[in-house]
Amino acid sequence: MNDMIDIGLGELLTGFLMLAIPVLVFIYFRTGMVKDVFISSARMIAQLFLVALYLDWIFDMNSAWINSLWVIIMVLIGAGTMVYRVRLSWRIFLVPLVLAGLLSIAIIDGFFLGVVIRLDYFFDARYFIPISGMVLGNSINHNIVGLTSYFEGLSKRRELYYFILTNNGSRRKAIRPYIQEALRKGLGPLLANMSVIGLISLPGMMTGQILGGASPVTAIKYQVMIMVAIFAGCTMILIMSILYSNIFVFDKYGNIINLRSGKQIRNNSR
C-alpha cells in the first residue's frame, strides 16, 4: 500500500474553492446563508486544528488516565448536549444521561477493544479514543431523537400512560408504547443507514483508512465492526438514558413529574 498523499497549504486553499458552489447558489437564491458558510467553515478549521493539537499531545502521552479522562469529557459534553437539545432539567437529567453514556461506552469499549481486537494495551489512544468518539458522536443525534420522542410522548399523550397504568397496574407496561416509539424513531435511521452502507454512502472511517494506506479488506472489516459497535452503543445509551431518567420522571404513585423543571406535579390534572 502507498503512503497517504499529504495535502499542502496551497492544495488546502484550492480545495476551499469548492465552497464557491454553495456560496453562488445561496447568493442567487438570496437565502441569507452566505455569512453562515464562512462562519461555519472558519469554526470547522479552528476546531479541527485545535483537536489536531491536543490529540497530538494525547497520542504522545498515551496514558490510561489521560485517555480515560478524555473519554469522560466526551461523555459529559454528549450528555450536556442531549439535555440541552431535548430541553430537560439539567439538575435532574444530566446525571442519568452521563451514567448511561459511561456505562454503555465501558461495555462497548470493553468488548470491542478487549475481546474483538484484543489490544495489548487497552487504553491505547489510537483505538480507545476514536472508537469511543465514534460511538458517542453517533449516539448524540439518535439519542436526541429518541429521548425527544419519549419525553414528548409522556408529556403530550399522558392520558394513554395513565389509562394503561390503572388498567394494567404495571408502570413497565404503561411506558412500553413510549419506549417502543423512542427506539423506533431514535434507531430506525441508523438501521436504514446500515442497510445502504456501501451502496449509497461510503463511510468516513473506511474511506479514511483506505486513503491512509490500509488494505480495503482490513478497512471494511473495521467498518463492519465499528457499525455494529455504533448500533449496539446507540441502543444501549438510549435505553439506559430512558431507564435511568425514569427514576426521576415518576413519583412513587406513578405520576409523571414536570419534565422541564423537575418539579413534582401534585394534584395532577391530566
Binding site: Y162, T166, N167, G254
Partner: protein, 197 residues
C-alpha cells in the same frame, strides 16, 4: 370496599372537596354527581392514587391508599376515562397494550352486548364515531374483569340506546362495584346511590 374519611382537596388555593366522608359497599353502584368543577373526576383520580387529598384518608379493600399499596389497589380496578381519544389505532391494539395478550372471547361478547360488532374492534379509531369509540373502550376495560369499575362521565358520547345497553352490561352477572362520575340524570337514577358534590 371503598372508604373515604374527611377528604379535603384544593386546587390553586380554591377548595374543591371539603370534609367528604363516604363508604361504598361490595357490589354497590355509586355515582358522584354535581356540576362541572365540583371535583367528580378528581375524586375518581384520587381513588386511583393520581391525586392525593390535602387531608383525610382513603382505603380500598381494607388497604390504605398509599405508595406501598397503590399497585395492589389498582390491580382491582378498571378505569374508563371521559376522554377516549387515546393515541392507539383500534380497540384490539388498546386491549393488547393493557394485557399484552391477544384478545379473549370475553371482549367480543361484551362489545356485542354494547352493540359493537367484532370487526369494529379492529377498525381504525379515526374511522368510527365518538360513541362507538367510547363503547369499545368500555368493552375493553370491562373485559379485564376487575372487581371495581371506575367510569368518568360514561354517557358523554352515548345515545339513549347505548346508555341502556351499558346499564344492562353493568347489571349483568358477577359482583362488581361500580363507581362513576356523571351529571346525567338517567345515569344518576341507574345508580344504587348518588353522592352529590
Amino acid at each position: 370496599m371503598i372508604r373515604a374519611k374527611n377528604i379535603q382537596l384544593s386546587f390553586n388555593g380554591k377548595t374543591v372537596i371539603k370534609d367528604l366522608t363516604f363508604e361504598i359497599g361490595n357490589g354497590e353502584n355509586v355515582c358522584f354527581s354535581g356540576a362541572s368543577g365540583k371535583g367528580k373526576s378528581s375524586l375518581l383520580k384520587m381513588l386511583q392514587g393520581y391525586i392525593l387529598p390535602d387531608a383525610g384518608s382513603i382505603s380500598v379493600k381494607g388497604l390504605e391508599l398509599n405508595e406501598k399499596n397503590i399497585a395492589t389497589i389498582r390491580s382491582n380496578m378498571a378505569y374508563i376515562p371521559q376522554n377516549v381519544n387515546l393515541p392507539v389505532n383500534n380497540g384490539i391494539e388498546l386491549l393488547e397494550l393493557i394485557t399484552g395478550d391477544k384478545p379473549a372471547e370475553r371482549v367480543f361478547s361484551i362489545a356485542a352486548r354494547l352493540g359493537i360488532p367484532e370487526a369494529m374492534l379492529e377498525q381504525g379509531f379515526d374511522e368510527i364515531s365518538g360513541g362507538q369509540k367510547q363503547r369499545i373502550v368500555i368493552a375493553v376495560c370491562l373485559s379485564l374483569d376487575r372487581e371495581i369499575i371506575l367510569l368518568d362521565e360514561p354517557t358523554s358520547s352515548l345515545d339513549d340506546e347505548s346508555i341502556g345497553k351499558l346499564m344492562d352490561v353493568l347489571k349483568g352477572p358477577g359482583e362488581r362495584t361500580v363507581v362513576s362520575a356523571s351529571h346525567n340524570h338517567e345515569w344518576i337514577r341507574f345508580a344504587d346511590r348518588s353522592i352529590a358534590l
